[in-house]
């Protein structure tokens, strides 16, 4: 612990206490900071130059002195609460030089008084150097790192003032309650996690993490708070993972025991969702749920197998990826959603998993081919009806739909199947636009033949033709050669066929002795 003079402002002690609470092991590392210089030795210009990392500390751009003054007032009105928070960092750092610079405690005490004073009456110039203001005005310093740096430089009223203004600006741009505003990008977070894992989650100490990460613009405090969040989230997720694992286990047991039940007829399957399992929405392709049950929950921040598919963190990156999020709107940076997000990978991460937060990135890329993103829990139904032919039914060789051995196609198309989006666009000239709205309609007829209506036969596609029906159809053709061609494809040129056959060494004449 630092030997802090009791004469210091009580707020400082409070802040310190808070900091200590936040990171029990952290205080000792304050000594790591370099405080072996006095104000005079410092070239403030250097600080600002160094701290111009736009990516890490993006907030403070042009710090207008006028802005600062208004901010002071705002803060004063808010009761100086933000002060305390914001000052946590610099005051902590300020404590360190107590040993070195005897005047610091006085300064610190002054600082707080000054803040209040300044907030009240814009007296920022108390002992302040004009150049500090100027530097502040034109410097690109972001957030509290600058504050910290200045604090490190053994605070004077000027630096404390700058610190304050930094805070004000940052608080203006952020929510105001943050310490150093660090943008935890995925890259940054990844390095953080690496460092933590390297040290061991229990032994991970912010100062060590900082060392390992080796990023100048991060303060120990940034790391500390981030570590705290990380730990809490990890615990939460591990607990959930355990719960899921046990659930999955139980489920497997039941499934094994319930094997006999699985042989129910197809129609019952669709009634299953009513039993009590939340029915999977008609959107996600099924393979994913299967995979998902088997896959352990992803711990926040840890790399997963599926990382290439969707980067899980930060969640705002997910927003563009799932424009059609059915369940949860793109989560605001509010904490619960934020931290839960990394888990929500995979499409069918459904209520079955018991997770409240359902961000479902739906990579259509999961399925290379189908233009039908959703899979339809409908028995193989595919009417092949050139609508022009629907009415007539001359042929005996009428192919029946396996699912619906009936006459009319149209009614069957109204089956309560979920949307099977059949892009009619597949055929450049859909036969009859009026028919298209029917979701089940998929015209197989080539566009060229649409209008022709050569056949009066009804055409239906059979998804799973049985051998008997094929045999029957073939037999029909053989016995009744006069029947019109079902599809009306353009016949091949006789010559080319014959030529080809001869090349193959076949005599075409209908083979004798068939």
């Amino acid at each position: 612990m630092l030997a802090v003079s009791p004469a210091m402002c009580p707020d400082v002690a409070e802040d310190r206490a808070r900091v200590v609470a936040g990171d029990a092991v952290g205080m000792e590392v304050v000594g790591d900071m370099e405080f072996d210089f006095s104000v005079d030795d410092i070239d403030f210009g250097d600080f600002f130059l160094r701290l111009e990392d736009g990516d890490v500390l993006p907030d403070l751009e042009a710090v207008d002195p006028a802005e600062i003054f208004t901010d002071f007032e705002a803060i004063a009105t808010s009761g100086g609460e933000e002060f305390q928070e914001d000052q946590e960092v610099p005051t902590v750092e300020l404590l360190a030089p107590v040993e070195d610079v005897g005047v610091v405690d006085v300064v610190v005490g002054e600082e707080h008084r000054e803040f209040v004073a300044e907030a009240a009456g814009e007296e920022e110039k108390v002992g302040c150097n004009q150049d500090d203001e100027a530097e502040e005005a034109n410097a690109d310093v972001g957030g509290d790192a600058a504050v910290v740096a200045e604090a490190k430089s053994s605070s004077t009223t000027s630096s404390s003032q700058e610190a304050e203004s930094r805070h004000k600006s940052s608080s203006k741009s952020s929510q105001g309650k943050k310490k150093a505003k660090v943008d935890w990008t995925p890259e940054l977070h990844r390095r953080f996690v690496q460092a933590v894992e390297q040290l061991g989650i229990d032994k991970a100490v912010p100062s060590r993490i900082l060392e390992i990460m080796g990023i100048d613009s991060l303060t120990r405090h940034n790391i500390a708070s981030h570590l705290q969040k990380y730990r809490s989230h990890r615990k939460h997720m591990l607990a959930r993972e355990a719960e899921t694992a046990s659930w999955t286990q139980r489920r497997q047991i039941y499934a094994a025991g319930g094997g006999a039940v699985a042989k129910r007829p197809e129609s019952n399957v669709w009634a299953v969702p009513t039993i009590g399992f939340p029915p999977p929405p008609p959107l996600p392709p099924p393979p994913s749920p299967m995979q998902h049950f088997a896959r352990p929950l992803h711990v926040w921040g840890h790399p997963t197998v599926d990382s290439p598919r969707v980067p899980m963190w930060p969640p705002r990156h997910l927003v563009p990826r799932c424009p059609a999020l059915p369940l949860v709107p793109p989560p605001p940076p509010s904490d619960p959603a934020f931290w839960h997000h990394p888990y929500m990978r995979g499409q069918a991460h459904m209520p079955t998993q018991g997770t409240p937060c359902m961000a479902m990135p739906m990579p259509a890329a999961r399925f290379p081919a189908p233009p039908v993103p959703g899979v339809v829990p409908c028995p193989m139904y595919r009417p092949l009806t050139p609508p022009a032919l629907v009415s007539k039914n001359q042929q005996d060789a009428q192919l029946q739909l396996q699912a619906q051995p009936g006459q009319a196609h149209m009614p069957t198309q109204g089956t309560p199947c979920m949307a099977m989006p059949m892009p009619a666009a597949r055929f450049p000239a859909p036969p009859v636009p009026g028919v298209v709205p029917c979701p089940m309609y998929r015209p197989l007829t080539p566009p060229a033949l649409v209008s022709k209506n050569q056949q009066d036969a009804q055409l239906q596609l059979q998804a799973q033709p049985s051998s008997e029906s094929i045999d029957a159809a073939i037999g029909d053709v053989l016995t009744k050669p006069w029947l019109p061609l079902p599809l009306g494809l353009k016949p091949p040129s006789l010559d080319s066929v014959m030529g080809e056959l001869q090349r193959q060494g076949v005599a075409n004449v209908p083979p004798a002795g068939g």
């Binding site: 399957v269 099924p286 053709v477 494809l489 016949p491 040129s493 080809e500």
Partner: protein, 101 residues
């Protein structure tokens, strides 16, 4: 005997048969097999006629083949869904049974 006419009619018949197979969503191979099995058509003949038909009706066959691929995927997917649902049903039944106690 009009060889050409009988050949022509034969070819036409094969053509007809192939079209019927297409109505059943058969692949080329399946069609060849079916025709051979049920109609004693020389596979070479079937194959040749199919190829020629494909040449003459390129667009149609392009779409047809694409559809088949998708249909396969879809069928497979649906199978999986059904399996899942039946598994879920089994589990649900089990759970219900357990809860009853």
């Amino acid at each position: 005997m009009g060889d050409s006419s009988s050949s022509a009619s034969y070819i036409r018949m094969v053509h007809h048969l192939i079209e019927k197979c297409i109505c059943f969503n058969l692949s080329k191979e399946e069609c060849i097999e079916a025709l051979e099995k049920h109609a004693n058509i020389n596979p070479v003949v079937t194959s040749t006629v199919w190829k020629e038909l494909e040449k003459e009706n390129k667009e149609f066959f392009e779409t047809y083949n694409k559809d088949r691929v998708e249909r396969n995927i879809e069928a497979e997917t649906m199978q999986r869904i059904q399996k899942m649902l039946s598994d879920a049903a089994a589990t649900a039944v089990q759970l219900a049974g357990e809860l009853a106690w």
